[in-house]
């Protein structure tokens, strides 16, 4: 293994973040280069906050983050060029066409226009957006916007890809395609942090799974290690166990009983 490859892609050291309440408590996580990490947790567990710290969207936090061995705070501009980020909600300049948007993003990375044109065309073709290349995105569906967002995140060939619920709004074919893309990126030695609630996808694409609860890492290991640790087979059961959810209880029945009481809606 070369010296460069020995340097972890991401190192999170004692990172804490608070707003009105603590969101992350002393998170420690090392992600070696070329690995796909499934980062899972319930709503409000701190997943998105971690990703926002890693993308530079949040800069005020305690602790240290190293990207490719360098302090992220000190070398932020340089390190951001190594990262591709797919956020959960498709925020785009909707008055632009996909190609105009990609040219703008490419420009921020100082990419050659011809390269942007070629890569952009090919990637959007793969997502089935050939017809829409020069249409304004304000008429696009959520899924179409998400496809443009994924393309723009991968356009500059980043070393590290941070995905926050990347499947949001995608159709079945695009989900399959994205899973294949993740496989391709992994083969190409890219590091991926994959945040999602969709357990079966996380299970399939991840080398290692990190489970976060109330801002603390509760589990960190391969799927087989987690199975052995929890004594159960599926990731859903492991998740329920580690997040303290009682799966034996009939929550569905409880829910329906709300409507059956006198004065209910049904």
């Amino acid at each position: 293994m070369s010296e460069t490859a020995a340097v972890p892609a991401i190192e999170i050291i004692n990172v804490s973040k608070s707003y009105d309440r603590p969101v992350l408590h002393n998170i420690n996580l090392t992600i070696p280069q070329g690995q796909v990490i499934g980062y899972i947790g319930a709503n409000g567990a701190g997943k998105s906050t971690t990703v926002k710290i890693l993308t530079g969207l949040i800069t005020e936090y305690l602790g240290q983050v190293n990207i490719m061995g360098k302090d992220f705070r000190q070398h932020m501009q340089e390190q951001k060029a190594l990262i591709g980020y797919i956020p959960e909600n498709a925020m785009l300049y909707e008055m632009l066409t996909p190609m105009e948007y990609l040219h703008f993003i490419g420009g921020l990375y100082n990419m050659d226009e011809a390269v942007v044109e070629e890569r952009g065309h090919r990637m959007l073709d793969m997502f089935g957006l050939t017809e829409a290349l020069h249409q304004r995105m304000d008429g696009f569906s959520k899924g179409m916007k998400q496809k443009v967002l994924i393309t723009s995140a991968l356009l500059h060939d980043p070393q590290i890809v941070l995905m926050d619920e990347p499947l949001s709004g995608l159709d079945a074919n695009a989900v399959i395609l994205l899973k294949e893309i993740i496989g391709g990126l992994k083969k190409a030695g890219k590091t991926i942090l994959y945040c999602s609630h969709i357990m079966d996808v996380v299970e399939k694409v991840s080398d290692r799974i990190v489970l976060i609860r109330d801002g603390r890492i509760m589990a960190n290991g391969t799927m087989s290690e987690l199975r052995a640790q929890a004594g159960t087979e599926s990731l859903e059961d492991i998740f329920a166990l580690l997040t303290g959810r009682d799966r034996s209880h009939d929550h569905g029945g409880d829910f329906i009983s709300i409507f059956n009481r006198e004065g209910g809606a049904v």
């Binding site: 998105s48 926002k52 800069t59 501009q77 990262i83 980020y85 925020m91 008055m95 921020l108």
Partner: protein
Amino acid sequence: MDRIFLALVKLLSPFWTLSGADSRQLLLILKLKTTLSNREPISWRAGGSKKQYNLHPVLRSLLHMLLPALLGLTYVPLLLIIPDKEIGLLLVTFSYFLFAALMLVMTFSSQLTDTSDNSILLPRPVNSRTMILYRLLFMGYKFLTSAIPLSFAMIIALSIRDGWLRGLHYLALLLPGLTILFAAVQLLLILVLRFVSGQRFKKIVYWLQAIFIGWIYLSMQHSFMDKLESANLSVVLRYSRLLSWMPQYWITEAWMHKATWRMHLALWGSPVISLLFIVRVLAPKFSERLSEMGSGFETAAKGRTREARSTRAKQKHYLLLRHPAAQAGFLFARRFASRTTEYKMMVLPAYAYVIFTAFPLLSDIWKVISTGEGSIKAAKCLLPVYMLMYPVTAALMSIKASAQYKAAWVYETAPGSFRGHVRLGTGWALFTRYYFPAFLAWSVVLLIATRGALWSNLILMACNCIAVYFVQVLVLFKEMPASVSAESLKEEKSQRFFTTILVLALTALVGVLHAFLLLPLYWWVHLLVASLSLIAAWLLWDKIARTQ
């Protein structure tokens, strides 16, 4: 216009690089921002269907300049009436800068901390200095394209009186003056942002706006203007040394060819120094705050506020509303208006504009009350009551949009015929929040000051305003509250402008009819017309409740 702006930015690339920004990225982002601004649709309502027309950029620029250019006409009489050229110009420049500052604080302050594209730009390798500089330059450009047309009438008047070169000279001096004003306001906001958390900044800007309204009032009350009108400049300077520190004074002196080298240096040098200070020193902290503001976490209400809210929620007064949907609309509007800072920031400027416009008319109100002739006294006293319709119109126009979410689906998916009731409840909530308290306060003051002489006129006026307001609800407020995205509301700026003008014209028409036809009549005529207005209001109330 955009091309000239971009060419100028490109020309000054070495300066941006010197200030630590990436001039290539800067130009790229500004190009994008101007493109986006040009692509915002301008829409009119035609026959109930929304038609959108994308205007040619030149036509769009002209349309954008029209209103400030018309407003600028108000400065011309001042300039021409005052015989002393120097005093006249100083007076007009003061007034002009006051309005420009008002525009800057009220309209542009929220743009500084716009976090809508944080998730696009912040994860990219764009440095903090580029981030702050692109905002300043784009806002500055937009500000100047509003503020410069405001001076057109003055420049034309100066050109006619003193020759076109003198007119152009004044324009050339205004540019650095406005840049100083712009830089000073931004510097203040960015300094505030440095010392408070990003989450609290919006609230502080809201309070700054409120303070600014008070400051406008006080500065007009104690301004140099009345002193300027009656004295020569040396007397004024003796009165206040502060004047010699103001760009308005430097501009006037430079135009009169009396400026010292220090004034020239200050006029041309301070914008550059302020810009460099903001970009080189304050930028990194600004970026931190900006990222924090866009993080999606809002400060929760403090314990006492939460308690007060829960108590208020228990005491549900719906002020004559009976239908549950109307009560729901009423409660929603009350809560939305009291808890949404962005919304307050949209409504509050309307009060400032009312004060700014009403003050010259009301500056001698106490003298008129004590000694004035009956009908003039009454007309002057009652004028603000009609003018206060503007804030409530602004509140009504803004409540349909929400920055946080689009609630259209709530109304689309719920069963039953309730839309009219929701609109009615919402409209009523805004009227009782933004009109009634101001009306009651002013009425009490007037009744005491005039020893009850205007009671019947006040009742008539209140009834007229209720009727006019319900016309507004019926005509302007067809969307459900919070059902439109904030971006869409921005796109409808022009449409809002024309409809607002029409509705305000209706208010003005009612006011004029009242002042000229009804004001001198007997109290029982006032009450008779008031009851007719109330019947109209009741019919409109019913009509709104039934609309779908």
